[in-house]
Symmetry: C2
Subunit: 384 residues, 2 copies
């Protein structure tokens, strides 16, 4: 598989009360089209990633809505939903459609508008990603990930300070990303002192509620960006699922869907995890990045937390850098946009255009997008 990425676009992530979903999508798409030097009518199909517009805004049919809004001239359009993995899943289906030769140039856009709603509404809406037994019990997503954190702490001796180290690193990276929601650095102490949300997870272990949009344009044509500029290609796109609720899992210290999707992706790209220079992983909570590091084979089980704490995945370390954008934790997590923003960040890094947060010499990157408490995972590998 070798699918060139022709263009990328990402809006500012944050509490964007002055912008409607339509405006955010237009911003991201205009940036991606400009980057690809294409017009919207050059695009053959539109894939939209979104989770919550139905529940929060009583608006479905987003494929047609944005095909219309963007003046695509009757182009085919689809909405793909798989909770927080909607973005990655939309890219996967778009990749399949260009691999099939059915469409030549495809726009994939992700959008979520969350901050206009009150926190109780958002918490309830997000639980639509989980199992009805879990919803009936009254648990929310911080609670589900707190269970995963406890299991990891018990089995591997993972410490709360080590989880906090994930947030410290990702806030440092976000401080170098002008589009990030939080561009302020944090200390371990600040995180440890922040209010408890679901023991052992504290407020600053959690990714925020965010608004934002992201877009990429991919193709099956041969593409040379320019004589001097690098073309980045998607070389693997894989998806796996697991039980919807935690009750169905044999092991709570690993997300099997991520392991399966990851190992398939390495096979597809004919590389090993050790070849990855830069990764954007789904750190919806700090424990999730620790799980991702182990499930994707970057560290053996029980070893990631200590490695992150000693700075093994931090910008400037000389090796693998994880979440240079700031991740979901600090760049923000507008659900439908997240999986697409991850790929935009990897493309930016592999093009050597990431400015202050550039991972030096990055040639192979990975994006890891998870839905629910690990019910679905998507992995993309990109190369230049």
């Amino acid at each position: 598989m070798k699918i060139p990425v022709l263009g990328i676009g990402v809006t500012k992530f944050g509490e964007l009360w002055d912008y409607s979903p339509r405006v955010l999508v237009k911003q991201a798409v205009a940036e991606a089209l400009n980057d690809a030097r294409l017009k919207i009518t050059d695009v053959d199909a539109i894939f939209v990633a979104n989770m919550l517009s139905g529940i929060l805004g009583n608006q479905e049919n987003l494929g047609a809505l944005f095909a219309d809004e963007l003046k695509s001239a009757n182009k085919p359009a689809f909405k793909i939903e798989g909770a927080c993995a909607s973005g990655g899943l939309a890219i996967h289906n778009a990749v399949n459609s260009v691999l099939a030769g059915v469409y030549e140039k495809v726009l994939v856009l992700g959008i979520e508008k969350m901050t206009d709603h009150n926190p109780a509404e958002i918490a309830q809406a997000l639980m639509s990603a989980g199992h009805d037994e879990e919803r009936a019990s009254g648990i929310s997503f911080p609670g589900l990930y707190a269970i995963l954190a406890r299991a990891h702490m018990e089995k591997y001796g993972t410490k709360e300070e080590e989880m906090a180290a994930v947030a410290v690193k990702n806030h440092y990276h976000a401080s170098l990303n002008p589009k990030a929601q939080f561009q302020t650095q944090l200390t371990i102490e600040q995180i440890m002192k922040s209010s408890c949300v679901a023991d052992p997870l504290k407020l600053l272990d959690c990714s925020p509620v965010s608004d934002g949009a992201a877009a990429i344009i991919i193709s099956n044509i041969k593409y040379q960006r320019s004589k001097t500029k690098r073309t980045v290609n998607i070389v693997a796109s894989t998806v796996a699922t697991d039980s919807l609720g935690l009750r169905g899992r044999k092991d709570l210290t690993t997300l099997k869907a991520a392991m399966v999707a990851g190992s398939k992706a390495y096979q597809q790209a004919k590389i090993k995890s050790s070849h990855i220079d830069v990764a954007e992983v789904h750190d919806c909570f700090t424990i999730a990045e620790i799980l991702a590091m182990e499930d994707l084979g970057f560290f053996s089980k029980g070893k990631a937390a200590r490695a992150i704490t000693r700075g093994a995945t931090k910008l400037g370390n000389g090796g693998l850098v994880v979440n240079p954008s700031g991740g979901l934790k600090a760049c923000g997590h507008p659900v439908g946009a997240t999986g697409i923003k991850q790929v935009c960040e990897i493309v930016t890094q592999l093009r050597n255009e990431a400015g202050e947060r550039q991972v030096k010499g990055a040639k192979i990157g990975l994006a890891h997008n998870v839905g629910g408490s690990g019910a679905v995972a998507v992995v993309h590998i990109l190369k230049n």
Copy 2:
């Protein structure tokens, strides 16, 4: 394109208060797997079509939910949504994935559970397919289609009795379909006397609120059903969009998305509309079948209503038969299942297994699935 359909399954459609969505999906999938002589673990990916589970049941992430529920063993799974066209759009994306060679055998399932909710909730939820300006005006889908009906009546002199003739035909067909929601025949008089819903549309011009599920299994392998049994292949799969709201349309007497998707499908299948022996079209309201007949090229503009009234598309007429299942109008319209049930019916007809409602000698069939008031349309052509 030549994608064999390995298996099909459809539940009874109707007010199924004793069955949960999980049970309905299991019934349809078991039937499809049995028909294909496969186990769920033989399937490489699962595409789920559903519109309303988020809004009505606060449950998203249906790809992972059903991959888990069906014990698929970590298989990739996706939810595709495009209002009432969700089923057709899911098949289109599944077709692309097998054309790409990414998956070999793919299960596409559609599910909707609507009758457990009160009519006001349903009407509001369905308006999530429309434009926010339309929602703000207080209009509902019968109202939107009533505008289309009025425009057609004014331009072509279409009569209310001619719209009623669509319902008479489709109820007759449904009377021969044991899985149909309404198996009772109607007269023009009964329809004309039924209560006005949105002038000129009366209660019996409208498709019902329904529960039901449908499933198909498609593949990219060469497939011979048996020495005596016919293999039915998908030979065209096309999608087009139009403005989300009626305000954006230049012409209210045609659905442009259906015209575009239809003409592309004929090109793809290298046939003309006159080659179609049997069609399942999206008759959410009686006027919608009249529009479909003209937009798909079966009759020239303004000629379909009279043709339907004189029985030109009725079972036993010797020519094209439209909606032998009973259509959305009489077989029922569980939104996410509809587009998949349409393909199941065409497969049944082309296999010559439709019993009392068999279209004699049917060799080429078409399925036409519409989302919203024509914002998106999907056309599939099948052949044996």
